[in-house]
Symmetry: C2
Subunit: 338 residues, 2 copies
Amino acid sequence: MASIKDVAAEAGLSVATVSRVLNDHPSVSEEARTRVLAAVATLGYRPNAVARSLRTDQTRTLGLVISDVLNPYFTELARSVEEEARALGYSVIIGNADERPDLQDHHVRTLLDRRIDGLLVSPTDGGSPLMLDAARGGTPMVFVDRWIRGVDVPVVRADGQSAVQDLVAHLHGLGHRRLAIIAGPAATTTGRERVDAFRAALAAYGIPLPDAYTGQGDFQAESGRRVTEGFLDLPEPPEVVFAADNLMALGALDAIRARGLRVPDDIALAAFDDIPWFVHTDPPITAVAQPTGALGRAAVRALVDRIEGRTPRSVTLPARLVVRRSCGEPPATNRSKP
Amino acid sequence: MASIKDVAAEAGLSVATVSRVLNDHPSVSEEARTRVLAAVATLGYRPNAVARSLRTDQTRTLGLVISDVLNPYFTELARSVEEEARALGYSVIIGNADERPDLQDHHVRTLLDRRIDGLLVSPTDGGSPLMLDAARGGTPMVFVDRWIRGVDVPVVRADGQSAVQDLVAHLHGLGHRRLAIIAGPAATTTGRERVDAFRAALAAYGIPLPDAYTGQGDFQAESGRRVTEGFLDLPEPPEVVFAADNLMALGALDAIRARGLRVPDDIALAAFDDIPWFVHTDPPITAVAQPTGALGRAAVRALVDRIEGRTPRSVTLPARLVVRRSCGEPPATNRSKP
DNA sequence: ATCGCCTGTGTAATCGATTCCACGAGGAGG
DNA sequence: CCTCCTCGTGGAATCGATTACACAGGCGAT
């Protein structure tokens, strides 16, 4: 593969001049410019990003470590992150943690070794020493969706509190009183916050959230199934199951289906994180929708601000409730066929 | 960030010796080894992958350019690719083409600039000059899922022919005679092959595939909706719609639903590419399932073979039919409630 | 005519690693 | 005792870019 020296030789100029043309430095003669450009074209030369990064100490690359690529929420997030980064002149390298702290660490480490300019993380756990050190050590970093307390890192996330209130109001209005939740891992902020928001919203109606009605999941489908089976085995099973993410909702649906029960007639189901597929499930699932694209874009902007020396700001965007049929009577607009 | 020089100074040795310890070169004294390791630990030193790549001319990184991250098929593929690559000591950088040739080129170009060791591509089109040049120019490359004719690049893909035959047999057995297909872009191999396989399978039953029953889609949901509306507007609409990918099947389902029609009673639906969500749609969708994980792993192995000087082999794995309820009477095993 | 400045160019240092080559010490064999 | 190896180590070149610095030539001002 041709290097800058080959181009210089071909153009009959020094590598310095070639470099200047390529980085359009002002003081280059028109003559030199055309000669270099011609040489570049005939050789099919492309600058070596590795060498350039070594010299300039910047890679124009962002790392994104997400918890689970198979979760449509995160893939949409990844897509919007890449889009915004590209618009700002950066590339993105995605690392998938699969909800495993060890894998998360693996990706953070290799990303750091590659000297990425900044890191976007949706932490799977409370934060390994590695990640904490990186954050404190000055690596530009922004948390997205999930975050870690006690580190001075901007957070870009959605606030589901009012949407969860709306959900509980909706459920209460439908006559449901025994409401259960499948929680996410307590090590994640989203795992805890969603339960807290749910409990608070229930409290407003004087409804308690007993331990038996809070199951511990891990944001994966299988745990949703397991927890839901536990709920159904209870002497007095809940009337509603609220899953703290879409994958666990899917598992819950499986478990309910396996018992020959029907949604919403026998038991209602709702989920946090809306995804396109929820429109097409049987029945369509009521969900709290995050502004995923906006989240990804805001996170990139915050990170790039940090990288380029501006002061990044944390951002919190509201989530909203999308009512479908999985909790009972359809919303008025859909009632063409009662 | 500490460099190898700092480690050398801390250990009171030369950079050469430090480097040898780090790459466990045989001729290093035990004494030197422990001193270096101690220095590495106190400084928290991590080798700079950029510098190392520049010197060794290898990045231990694979590029993966996929057509659409939002398609669960491709995200599963990406996951298995990353997994196998990691097992073999490589990292993966994913580029999402969003079914756009210009974006595909953008990603190929930046991956090449980064001097990745090899490229895995599922081409969105017939192949841009850039990609063709790279292939011919000696960049290790393997096509996965889709491929391009006339280039000497190994292909790892699934053969859907017999599964499509099974599908047509299933449909024919259910009494369907007017079968339509939503094709993928003619510029992609999968776009063409799936139509060809379908037409061939129909021919075996003496059923033609008229032009009116072959709609042109682009592998995205919206095109599935549009084409299906066209089918439904026909004086004699088809009894079955077969979508050449899962996203277009989703669009088709939308269009059918919007007319107030029911699947499978009013019209049957089947799809190429099975995904977990198809179990939960209303009704569950009959689909041709690819061995996605195996495909990703085989592709990585072929690419790494090529990179490390062995001779890579093309691989074709069989797809299989998964019958659910979207085409009519459920399979016998599921018939608990007739 | 001289000075200084501006423009365009080249030489060489530099980034952080790897690795070839040279060298000194020590041991084995004659 | 001398020679020859082997082993462990360090010096320095190298990868492909960027960029500080030096410098030559031209031009305007004095």
